[in-house]
Subunit: 256 residues, 4 copies
């Protein structure tokens, strides 16, 4: 029994082995992707003990896969639950997912283009969430930042809270701030990053963090910054598959 | 004999195997926690060759467990000593604990709510101890910073010293500056972080460091910062168990 | 079969085992150097999933060796292709190299002194490419920075693009901006570093990154900086072999 | 044959197995210390492929031990040479040490109190060597910085050079700038750190680097800094053995 077998032991018992027609991916393969994404995000230090990643079960589907409430670095296939857009599991499911699972359900509800969602707390993103300085695209692999990264002020949506998006209402408010953008910062908390695939949501998470570091350093040098312009962002967005090479490498590194 | 057995070899010889009634934890389990906390703090780079962590033997007890004077990364169960609130071991004990053990004894004496104490030297904390800029809460997992983190100026308590809290008097002065707060910085030296459990003191140590890095970065961006407000800090403080998931992950990582 | 054998398994099938007369290096040895350079650049964190390195097949030759389009950390001998100065492989070759391979072909075309080229995205270089602050030599092992590191503004050469040097025309424009210098930054993208040997291009890549970090830190301290002067740069340039010791160490570290 | 045996294989052939009377250390033990110091400095990232460390053979002796010219991470006992104060080996020795060995010989010549010397290039030190901002003590374990860390401007001593202290004259000039201090920065190059033992020179190297990082961060916060004062530096200097615990830990870590 090799490492991969160990990682995915138990998967068969949890999720039926049927083809998800629209995407052409089996359920088992989707579960494996969610496990891999968790491991990649931990290995790339985008998440620590907290944070989560989900994938929609199929284009247009009203259900998504996400781990039960454990640290991303520890997720295996048997930890993956299936929730509906109210972020509820099947009645027979006794385990619970993250308190902030509503982030996922409410975004999937209003963004049919979104197939995967990451929530993270990367430290370099926080300064851009607590100042009035917007993230802007400084690095070609972070081109999607040019589409805009708004900041979610939970205080406006819920008054004084424990900062967590732990209700459907807060999830809806967050989804509204996200709008049609690729990512949203959460004030004093972290970020949510979406994608049309799990490769895209994970890679955007990594390169959002790089953009924040580079932009902060450039701003510290105290001069006018030459950002990617609209035309450049648009041209780069036309690349149908900018991140597969990174996913393949990260997957191999995370498996160590 | 596996790794865990090796780590705790000798524990039985050192500490009696009785139940600590109030907490429901056996002495052996408490010792294991102190060893784990030492390993976590080293693996998370909160301590280097120096720094220490202790746990009170039971709620209300006048005794605490702490390692003899060695680097946290090297601590095993057989290194754990039991000291009283004067920071003295039993008469039969020939080994000595850290020169700064009075930090622990004097805080336990005046803070019955405190069950565990960490002393560390994390580099990112030092700038906040040598400037007049207070730590303030910028990150939701560092919410406790909002309760206040005072700075201990040893020069006021002891004149020109070797900077170490190596006497009961200096320990009392430090405890007085700490007051009822979750942590205190020590000018040009480091910090002391307390908790109602060892999980809390360790996790607060990790997230105090994150807060310092994030706050320094946000301040470097030269604009007004949107801190967590009082209501948010209060709400988050109501979470009875915000850090267990982190402890579980860190423990596994530190065991590698 | 040891690790080195595994790395280079298949090399014999791909590249003929003849002596490259001018350099006295066999083709097999050149291929091994390209593989090693890829592994070093990944281990030193100069490249991530993206970036590439090439070597000219012989002094004066119109051909160069470069990997097919995969992440540098994954390159083995069997991935190495041979391209001509139009960056085309032999007609029988079905695999393709990187989209930005024209960086290599067009620089080799106009710089007969150049035997090796690195393209990287190191984050600390980007701020110097998007501000008007030039890289200047602050560190003795980065002395070559004193020869000048221009910035390539792809917008001037190609209008709004996807930021990639993916055509011969853009490659020629980049080569023109590079001129006779040791390196060129690419705005919002990365850098290209050349050398008269693969050891030199790789070591310059590492020390260009160090220079950027040190210069940014010195500038943050807000005072006049004492750079290496022209005479010092010239004197240091006379060292015929400043980097072999580093190459030997990095090679060993990358093989782990 | 365990790892330690491997590291020190060949030592017996190189260095005679006699007691160095004054220090009570055998030659073999001194050689082992130099090897350990090299490995520690590499593991702690104080040196990279370059840098060196030496130890005087005995108090008052006119000879010192240092590696032949290889990267510190690769040094084994069989690489250690013995040089006199002119930095020359015995006539029968065919191997050569570092080009900058004169740093060591010329400092030992004028500083009878010095038993060990480190030369390093740590990046965080360079900004303090190229600006007019002096290193000052901000951190209790870096107290020795309070004795003063002058900057060596090689241009004053030798005009435009290749930046290397590669002659006895430059070594003498460096030793003069060092004076009776614990360390000296070298403009655009690195630092030399001395100690009354190899533990002291190595630990000072590590904590000099920490001080530079902390001081730069504190200065970036733009306010008046509360440095250790003279009395505190003096008091801390009275500790006869502040660093043995660190050496023991680092040695174990470097042996991995």
């Amino acid at each position: 029994m090799n490492r991969r077998d160990l990682l995915f032991a138990g998967a068969a018992a949890v999720v039926p082995h049927v083809i998800t027609r629209a995407s052409g991916q089996t359920r088992e393969s989707l579960v494996e992707d969610v496990v891999t994404a968790n491991r990649i995000l931990a290995a790339q230090e985008i998440v620590d003990a907290f944070g989560h990643v989900s994938v929609r079960t199929a284009p247009g589907a009203g259900r998504y896969l996400i781990s039960r409430s454990i640290a991303p670095a520890q997720v295996t296939a048997s930890d993956i639950l299936e929730l509906d857009l109210d972020s509820k599991p099947a009645a027979s499911e006794k385990r619970t997912s993250y308190r902030e699972r509503f982030i996922h359900g409410e975004i999937y509800r209003v963004r049919p283009d979104v197939m995967s969602i990451v929530h993270c707390h990367a430290a370099s993103l926080i300064p851009f969430s607590i100042t009035r300085i917007p993230l802007r695209p400084v690095y070609h692999n972070s081109f999607f930042v040019g589409e805009g990264v708004p900041v979610f002020e939970i205080r406006e949506a819920g008054g004084d809270t424990d900062m967590l998006v732990s209700t459907p209402e807060l999830g809806k408010a967050l989804a509204k701030t996200l709008g049609n953008k690729p990512a949203v910062l959460m004030r004093g908390h972290g970020a949510v990053i979406v994608g049309k695939s799990i490769i895209e949501s994970v890679a955007r998470s990594v390169y959002l963090e790089v953009n924040a570091r580079v932009q902060a350093q450039a701003m510290a040098m105290g001069v006018r910054i030459n950002y990617l312009n609209e035309g450049e962002v648009k041209k780069r967005t036309e690349d149908p598959d900018p991140y597969s090479r990174a996913w393949d490498l990260w997957k191999r590194q995370a498996a160590r």
